[in-house]
Amino acid sequence: MSLDRREFLKWSAAAGAAASLSGYLSAQQKPGAQKAAKRKTEHLVLIAFAGGVRTRETFGTPANVPVMVSMAEEGVLFPRARTANLGHFGAALSIFTGNAEQRGIRENVRGKDVTLFEYLRKDLGWGPNEAWIATSGGAQQVNYAYGLHPEYGPQYGANTLDGEGIFNREFKQLIETWGRPREMPPREKELLQRVRRGLAGDAATQGAEQVERFLLEELTRGTSDLTGANASDAKALRVARNLLTLFRPRLTAVVLQDADIAHGNYNGYLEVVRRNDAAIGELLEAVRQNPQLNGRTSFLIVPEFGRDSDLNSRRGLDHGDGSDDLRFVTCLGWGPDFRRGSVVQEEVGVVDVAPTVCELFGAKARFARGKRLPGLFA
């Protein structure tokens, strides 16, 4: 499978366009789709600025997050977004389901509630490559892709890609040792398909093949080489940037995690916050530089919860004191359909994000307890 960069970009553009078109056409036919207001947003980047991040170190100290501050000046800020201290996994999952999710901290199973990916893909008929989620927290976080609700499930899930997991250096070295797979001649491919049909019938593999090619390209780029305090988060944000510019999915979600270094290293935590802000800046710049994304892409950025008010005995910050620093975070909205330079003082919830995203695209998060974020839309 030798595919040079130009070919790949051409292929990606065609695949992306085809997927967008099929998604669009399907959406017109879906009876479950909401009659959406005319929106300019065609793509959304939803960033769970997770790992436990207090407002004090973000919008409370603007010098730490110049990118997000500048976005806030052009967007909407919700400084009183209520969270629940349910552990990182459950709390971040709440952002995607619109329900407070009580999950075990190390529980490595899917939730029972429907995720916004499933609402959007089912209600709007989005194709498999229209919803992606890039994570940084390892195996557990792939569970964000979909839930176990009987009416939804894996067939409507997001493609999930954990940056730190897939772009680990050791795997890249393994691939370099093995070498790229050879290009399969058409006749051999035909014979392969015949055996495959005999084994599994005519199950479509087209979507998987596209992702397979994307992965091969990504694996040989420099993502594996990213280092630093926020290396895992940086990989997730880099993956999101590449996905967004190549596939142009309707929804690209990112889940960060490195800020949790704060338990034992307050300065390291600050560094993660600063670096992640800068990486979001690169993502934003990539959107602005792309004529097919610029003016059509919105961002929502929100931590899953904050951190304790006071330092612990290790001069770090835990998350368990029940303080307002822990329970309230700041949510940021930026995009062509959102108000500009607005601060909404009303108390909202991180569980309001999922219903808001669904409404933005014309779907309904019918099992979510959260509501549409007030004062967001222009």
């Binding site: 552990g87 392969l192 055996v195 005999g198």
Partner: protein, 369 residues
């Protein structure tokens, strides 16, 4: 030897069937049954985390399940896999993998019956890796309550608050026993009755992929509490039960970590080295649907030129080779149509052995064993 198998199986069943929720006849049937390809493959995957090695196919196919279980459960390889599964359960993987001698020695100590599964779990939770993985009082005590004691944290808030104080060095009664340190938090959780129940429940679900029978669970708990080394016997019962036969018939999605080991065993005839297995497992775990990367990994391995596959022209009997591959990779014989497709592929100049192997290991059936 074969004449003695039913008698041995019956004895095994009668001995083990008492008060377990399964009748002696049911257990005896499963124990004495001759191992077919599919059952052997599933047993190896569940108990050893990999398919049978080439020599194990030769040794075990057609022999009694009880013989296989007697030789396998309790072996070093079995406990090594068990230990890896426990680390994965606690997400002590990647940078959090324990590297201290006391933890590394766990499989050998279990195989030599120098410690019980409960003691092994205690050791894991006392490791510095467990502490690093779960930093801070709130996280640590929550994880101990959830993952070791099996409690629902929303209903155990009082216990959580007591545990946090004990973690910080204050005295308190945590899970029914006095404690005053982080180590006491772990000890009290491991020694609690609910931890045995939680352990047996999750182990049963890991191996049989269904919830255990509510009536049988208390019997197993009582037995393990009375005989700390009886876990192997319980496993033998589970693996000869009708529920296990149903699991074999049903098929279950191959976990990524099992897929990696299976790929190497099935294609290279050997287990992957740690530095091969872990990066690939980690990469596969990074995808909600790892199908594309599984397929890509298989193709890269097959095209790497590093596998000792025979040359197509040198195959004396292509049909026998195809049948053997179906048996070892899918645990069954090919249908007439599948055999014809495979032979047609090998007949064509463009068709390679690698192509057929690629079709098999990337099939949904292979990924659901």
């Amino acid at each position: 030897m074969k004449d003695r198998i039913p008698v041995l199986g019956l004895f095994f069943g009668v001995f083990l069937g008492a008060g377990t929720g399964y009748s002696a006849q049911e257990l005896a049937g499963g124990a004495s049954a001759a191992l077919d390809g599919r059952t052997l493959r599933v047993l190896c995957l569940e108990l050893l985390g990999r398919p049978p090695l080439p020599e194990e196919w030769e040794r075990w196919l057609g022999r009694a399940r009880s013989e296989f279980l007697a030789a396998t459960i309790g072996s070093k390889a079995f406990w090594e896999h068990w230990y890896e599964e426990q680390l994965y359960y606690f997400l002590l993987i990647n940078n959090f993998r324990p590297a201290q001698d006391r933890q590394i020695a766990i499989p050998a100590d279990l195989a030599a019956q120098r410690c019980s599964v409960r003691e092994a779990l205690h050791r894991i939770a006392l490791s510095s890796s467990f502490d690093l993985r779960n930093p801070g009082a709130d996280t640590f005590v929550t994880v101990v309550l959830e993952q070791i004691a099996g409690l629902d944290i929303t209903r155990s808030q009082r216990e959580l608050e007591i545990g946090k104080r004990v973690y910080d060095g204050a005295s308190g009664v945590f899970l029914g026993t006095q404690g005053a340190s982080q180590a006491d938090v772990v000890r009290n959780a491991v020694m609690s009755r609910s931890s045995v129940q939680h352990f047996l429940r999750r182990e049963y679900e890991r191996l049989l992929h269904v919830k255990p029978d509510a009536a049988a669970l208390p019997v197993w708990i009582a037995r393990l509490e009375k005989e700390p080394l009886a876990y192997g016997e319980l496993l033998r019962e589970w693996c000869t039960s009708p529920a296990f036969d149903a699991r074999v018939a049903r098929g279950e999605t191959l976990e990524n970590r099992a897929f990696v080991r299976a790929l190497f065993v099935d294609l290279a005839g050997r287990l992957p080295r740690f530095e091969e297995a872990e990066p690939m497992r980690e990469a596969l775990d990074a995808l909600a649907d790892s199908t594309p990367l599984r397929s890509l990994s298989a193709r890269m391995l097959l095209d790497s030129g590093k596998l000792a596959l025979p040359k197509k022209q040198e195959l004396a009997n292509r049909e026998a080779w195809v049948r053997e591959r179906y048996l070892r990779l899918l645990g069954r014989a090919p249908t007439a149509e599948q055999l014809a497709d495979a032979l047609a592929l090998l007949e064509a100049p463009e068709g390679r052995l690698e192509t057929l192997l690629y079709a098999l290991v990337s099939s949904p059936e292979y990924n659901r064993s």
